[in-house]
Assembly symmetry: C2
């Protein structure tokens, strides 16, 4: 394992000079020396020791990616998380950073990671509002929050226009003649994202004088098959769908949930969109593999990752930059999972 010192000796120059060559401070070194040192470094297979570098600089090339998760949860089983964290990882590598990935709800873990590794920056995914005070009292590393709704100034944030997404869904169902609609969230009580999608949905429905009743707001869905949560949801849905007065359409806060719903409806022998319409959210590539052509609200996860990494790296390079907020737009993608119930006249009386 060649070290900087060994290269210095071999090249008959000082460590400082080698360091300058390695780190691209070429204006401080004569071009002959640069060449000689670079050649030697290549030949000796020199790789800088990142621990030593971090220690000397008091900062590492790590970016912490902190995502909401219970203990032991593999959140990458959720296709949205996989797509998003994968995109962040790719983008970070391109900029020469390393992702330090952590799935946790525990501030102690976060604290240990961020301070222990002298991370250059951090990306928080989800609702970490309860730790906000503690997070901000950390040594001043740049942070970008995503998929959350902190009401405080001075933080960097990249979000999705969840309200608009919900509204588009509501308007579309209204336009398609649906007057009895339901809402199915991943975790309405703890997810601000879900709450905003719901609020937007209600706003969209209101344009058609449609109400979203509480009894048709299903607050919690598990995307895994066969769990007790899924069974509980099935029972809830079953009792809602077994009456004459049942919803004709569902808005789900993710495609994964929409597909779960589709499956549960299948168990009740209800067909989509003939018997019940479904509209999802995300429009990830994986959804299109599914046989159901799902009408959904599109968000560009890769673009979101780009924005996050770009924002973060700019704030790392210039710590005086003012805080920023960006909202990524959404759009409706019409496929075939929502049935047109006919003209407004026919259905208006319901």
């Amino acid at each position: 394992m060649a070290t900087l010192k060994e290269i210095a000796q071999a090249a008959h120059v000082s460590m400082a000079t080698v360091s300058n060559v390695i780190n691209g401070n070429h204006h401080k070194v004569s071009s002959e020396t640069v060449e000689r040192v670079e050649k030697l470094a290549r030949e000796m297979g020199y790789v800088p020791n990142q621990a030593a570098r971090s220690l000397a600089q008091r900062e590492s090339r790590f970016i912490a990616i902190i995502s909401q998760a219970g203990k032991g949860d593999n959140i990458l089983t959720n296709p949205y998380n996989a797509q998003y964290i994968g995109a962040l990882t790719v983008d970070l590598h391109e900029k020469g950073y390393y992702p330090l990935i952590r799935f946790t709800n525990d501030f102690k873990d976060i604290d240990t990671d961020l301070r222990g590794w002298n991370v250059a920056g951090a990306i928080f995914n989800g609702s970490y509002s309860r730790y906000l005070k503690q997070i901000r009292s950390l040594p001043s590393i740049p942070i970008v929050f995503t998929d959350c709704y902190f009401r405080v100034p001075g933080i960097n944030h990249v979000g999705v226009d969840d309200d608009m997404g919900g509204q588009l869904a509501g308007e579309y169902l209204g336009k398609m003649g649906h007057r009895k609609v339901a809402f199915l969230a991943a975790d309405l009580d703890s997810s601000e994202v879900d709450q905003h999608r719901r609020a937007g949905f209600e706003a969209g429905l209101k344009e058609y004088d449609v109400e979203l009743p509480d009894r048709w707001t299903f607050r919690h869905a598990d995307i895994r098959p066969g769990t007790e949560y899924t069974e509980a949801l099935y029972q809830e849905l079953y009792s809602a769908m077994q009456t004459e007065d049942r919803p004709t359409a569902f808005f789900c806060t993710s495609d994964a949930i929409a597909l779960q719903l589709h499956r549960l409806m299948g168990r009740m022998s209800l067909r989509v969109p003939e018997d019940v319409s479904i509209i999802g959210f995300d429009d990830l590539p994986f959804t299109q593999q599914y046989s159901l052509p799902l009408t959904t609200i599109h968000q560009d996860v890769d673009q979101k990752a780009h924005l996050v990494v770009d924002m973060l790296s700019r704030h790392i390079q210039d710590k005086t930059l003012p805080s920023e907020r960006t909202v990524v737009g959404v759009s409706l993608v019409e496929r075939g999972s929502v049935r047109n119930l006919g003209t407004k006249e026919e259905t208006a009386r319901e």
Copy 2:
């Protein structure tokens, strides 16, 4: 940021003592001192500097997870990768390690990561055989290879019984009366896993005197919708299916591919299993969300991750351990995507 030194001063003890307390070498310290130091460390919010620790120990708590990928590829869009890497991440965290995730085919990246961070160990996913010599010439860190078929002794390996999986698929299709079968791989030319699944498949078919013709061996499938590769595959499949003499069943080397195939068959108005049967591989939870009840070869990805992390951590703790090889079993999961073509008598003459 409290340092070990500051705690030593506050506690009126030496740095060595604090170090021993922090690292759990309590037998070297009186219990009163342990308590006093621990209390102080807690109060001062002490978090060990991992860079300094790595530097002093010449080893970090990092485990490199290296996965095959082209430049810029987000391999987590593949549900198998997401499930597996997520499971590895969770298991590593539980043992106090950090995953250092890298998607690459470039040995230079790998070298930089492994040596630059003084990783404690590494997990290689996929066919890195061309770099084997270089990998083994690295400073002797424990490595576990997975999903590959190196024919060399002295390496740790956790694999899946791909041959048996293929064989089960072949036997099952034979038993169900299929005599004209096709095979669809992710990337047959570069994936040893695909090659073994195919070999096993042929062996299974042979028991029923069924041949797998070359023209029905589709070597490359992209799981993304709408790409040029997918279109090319569609054309290939189309010409194969438009003749009277067409395969009645497909074995796909992953569920993701099986679902892609299902979709492409749908475009040709061929129904599964009425017009064509499909059997997949993996049986990940996500598959069961799809409306198609896919008959498939089950592998336990979470268990595989457990085995890998366990094997690796044992070899880190005791570098003299002999190399190990483990093969995870597979099983057939019968759902409903393979049609029974009747008794052997009826079909044997074909």
